[in-house]
């Protein structure tokens, strides 16, 4: 049990596997839901924005809206799902924490890993399908797009460690996040292009951590907008910074988890 202080590869493997199975335990369609839910969202959003609001993204025709939305919406789903689920990961595993000396980080990180595994798989599937349908997605951009997930995962892991450790003490956090995350989604250029926003507010969007990812995924896969190496560097620094803060905070608070669970 002491050995568990240094998680073995097997242990990580088992935890992520268990986390994946937990998500779909008892559901007949299993992993299908992970793909179906953002697909449905994509269909509804496309319909509402294109047919109901009759909205147009400058420089895009109606048919291009679906890929425009898809390449930003899938990473967002991974981001939101990763943060939200990991937030309650310590609290939900209270029974395990009270009985076995599990490395606490493992519970949070395996939850994040599971979210990304599911949604990256969905992302790849949707990108390939859209590319085959001839919607202007460049398949050559798939590999760089997957690399862009690296800082995103680091960012989410950091946020997850912060939220999960705070959630143990303040249970309101997961409730608040449920409200805050949609707000963050609407304040990121996911459904629209930043150019459609009144100029006075455009720079404010840089404060939203997801703005960079939404725009860069589009630049890489659709050639919509330009890829900016400087912004990538900033995003990496932010991601590593958040991860470090998360690590320090988590280490500070984890000896006391059991007392408050």
């Amino acid at each position: 049990m002491r050995a568990a202080a240094m998680p073995s590869g097997l242990l990580i493997h088992r935890f992520v596997g268990r986390e994946l199975r937990n998500r779909f335990a008892g559901s007949i369609w299993g992993g299908f839901w992970a793909l179906f839910q953002p697909l449905l969202q994509l269909a509804i959003m496309s319909f509402v924005f294109m047919r109901v609001f009759n909205a147009r993204v400058p420089g895009l025709d109606a048919a291009s809206y679906a890929p425009f939305l898809a390449v930003a919406l899938w990473p967002w789903t991974a981001f939101a799902d990763g943060v939200l689920r990991a937030t309650t990961s310590i609290q939900e595993n209270a029974a395990l924490i009270g009985k076995v000396a599990v490395p606490r980080e493992l519970l949070v990180l395996s939850s994040v890993a599971a979210s990304f595994l599911i949604h990256i798989a969905g992302f790849v599937a949707v990108v390939v399908v859209l590319a085959l349908l001839g919607t202007g997605i460049r398949l050559t951009g798939l590999l760089p797009a997957l690399l862009l997930y690296v800082p995103l995962v680091a960012l989410v892991a950091g946020l997850a460690l912060i939220c999960a450790s705070l959630q143990v003490f303040v249970r309101d956090l997961s409730q608040a996040l449920g409200q805050l995350l949609p707000l963050l989604l609407y304040c990121a250029p996911v459904f629209y292009d930043r150019m459609q926003v009144p100029p006075a507010y455009r720079s404010l969007f840089e404060l939203n951590p997801f703005t960079f990812y939404a725009e860069t995924f589009r630049a890489i896969l659709l050639g919509h907008g330009t890829f900016d190496g400087g912004r990538l560097l900033v995003a990496c620094v932010v991601a590593v910074g958040v991860l470090l803060v998360g690590h320090v905070l988590f280490r500070r608070l984890k000896p006391h988890f059991e007392d408050f669970l």
Binding site: M1, A5, R21, K99, L253
Partner: protein, 401 residues
């Protein structure tokens, strides 16, 4: 003796007082600012404990004495508030029920998870899985979700995993209490073999029988502090005596009630000793149970005397009525009689004598008084009593005792 396996110095644990949600926020602020948390309830204080390799230590104490907390600190599930604990070896722990099993998964999946948590590799698991399943002996339930298990089955599986790990230090918390008779025996047998093979055991149990059977040393916790530690017989005896004293005031305040009974037991002496501390005996000693009965209306009472092992297993019971005798009349309302066991065949352990006063017909039971005695010794025979026996067609082996 050999190397130190567990060492606790000034170990203490306190839980924060959190009654309202606001307290949680304040506690979080304190932890972030200076790491201290002054508003707390102490559950363990100044525990100094050493366990050496090959030792067996029993932890005893009332509910809430801090036994489980101490085990959790040693296994690293809890972080101590004060002091420190060091462990030099692999621990296999079975804390409370469940051992961290996930209710939705099958027994087999949970075994795999549990083994990985204990640092067992995939190949080692494959090798030991049949052994685990055989030890747990829960049949086809191994492929059922754990939520359908009875508490006994969960413990069986948990113990089977820990047994397969062969840890340096085995920690079990009230595990035996849940299993059925045959599983208890299997566990006790396994633990005895494990101890003989050089294993180290830390056992929490409310069964003094198990503690005495498995442990050489015992440690008694009360209110988060160590009251006494040392030889298992001395500690368990003191602990039982404490319990009797604790229940004594309740009995004495009942005197009015007992005086109102038609037949009440007014005195019981074991070998002339009327105190409530357990009587110490050697195997084969004689036991005399001298009793006095008060009869309110002067009718001759009958008397039932029984012996039960400390865990409640009945050993023997008899009434005056069955044997065709009756207590001797001392005065109008006082009767006396003595039951003697010439050479008590009971094997080492703690036993309770129960004296019941009954109506002359031996039908209704009116009053009960209990006395405890301990048969000391280190016999390795199993069961409750030594039955007269002889081996036929066998021959003595040189060097055998």
């Amino acid at each position: 003796m050999s190397a130190l396996l567990v060492r606790a110095e000034g170990l203490g644990k306190s839980y924060p007082k959190v009654y309202r949600s606001r307290d949680r926020l304040r506690a979080l602020g304190r932890l972030l600012l200076n790491g201290a948390n002054p508003d707390s309830i102490g559950v363990l204080r100044d525990i100094d404990l050493e366990v050496r390799r090959g030792e067996s230590l029993g932890l005893i104490g009332e509910n809430g004495a801090g036994k489980s907390t101490l085990l959790k600190l040693i296994t690293g599930v809890l972080t101590p508030s004060t002091g420190r604990v060091t462990v030099n070896g692999e621990i296999g722990a079975l804390l409370e029920l469940g051992a961290g099993f996930h209710p939705e998964y099958t027994g087999r999946d949970n075994v795999a998870m549990s083994a990985a948590l204990h640092g067992l590799g995939a190949a080692q698991l494959r090798e030991r899985l049949p052994q685990i399943i055989e030890f747990a002996d829960i049949g086809q339930y191994i492929d059922e979700p754990v939520k359908h298990y009875s508490s006994g089955m969960i413990v069986r599986l948990g113990f089977a995993v820990v047994a397969a790990l062969k840890p340096d230090l085995l920690i079990t918390d009230e595990v035996l209490a849940v299993g059925d008779e045959s599983f208890q025996k299997k566990c006790v047998k396994w633990m005895q073999d494990y101890l003989e093979g050089g294993g180290t055991l830390l056992l929490v149990s409310h069964s003094m029988y198990h503690i005495q059977k498995l442990c050489r040393r015992a440690c008694w916790l009360r209110g988060g502090e160590i009251v006494m530690q040392g030889d298992v017989f001395d500690v368990t005896q003191a602990y039982l005596a404490y319990h009797e004293k604790k229940s004594a005031p309740a009995v004495s305040s009942d005197t009015n009630v007992t005086a109102g009974l038609e037949f009440s037991v007014s005195a019981v002496e074991l070998n002339g000793q009327d105190s409530e501390t357990p009587l110490m005996l050697q195997w084969g000693d004689a036991v005399r149970v001298a009793t006095r009965i008060r009869s309110r209306d002067g009718r001759t009472p009958s008397l039932a005397i029984g012996i039960v092992r400390v865990d409640g297993t009945p050993v023997y019971g008899v009434t005056t009525d069955m044997d065709g005798t009756a207590p001797t009349r001392l005065s109008d309302h006082e009767y006396a009689c003595e039951l003697e066991f010439e050479a008590l065949a009971l094997l080492p352990g703690s036993y309770t004598v129960r004296v019941h006063s009954m109506d002359p017909e031996g039908v209704r039971l009116f009053d009960t008084v209990e006395r405890t005695f301990i048969v000391r010794g280190t016999s390795r025979e199993s069961g409750l009593v030594r039955l007269p026996h002889r081996w036929n067609g066998a021959h003595a082996v040189d060097g055998a005792a």
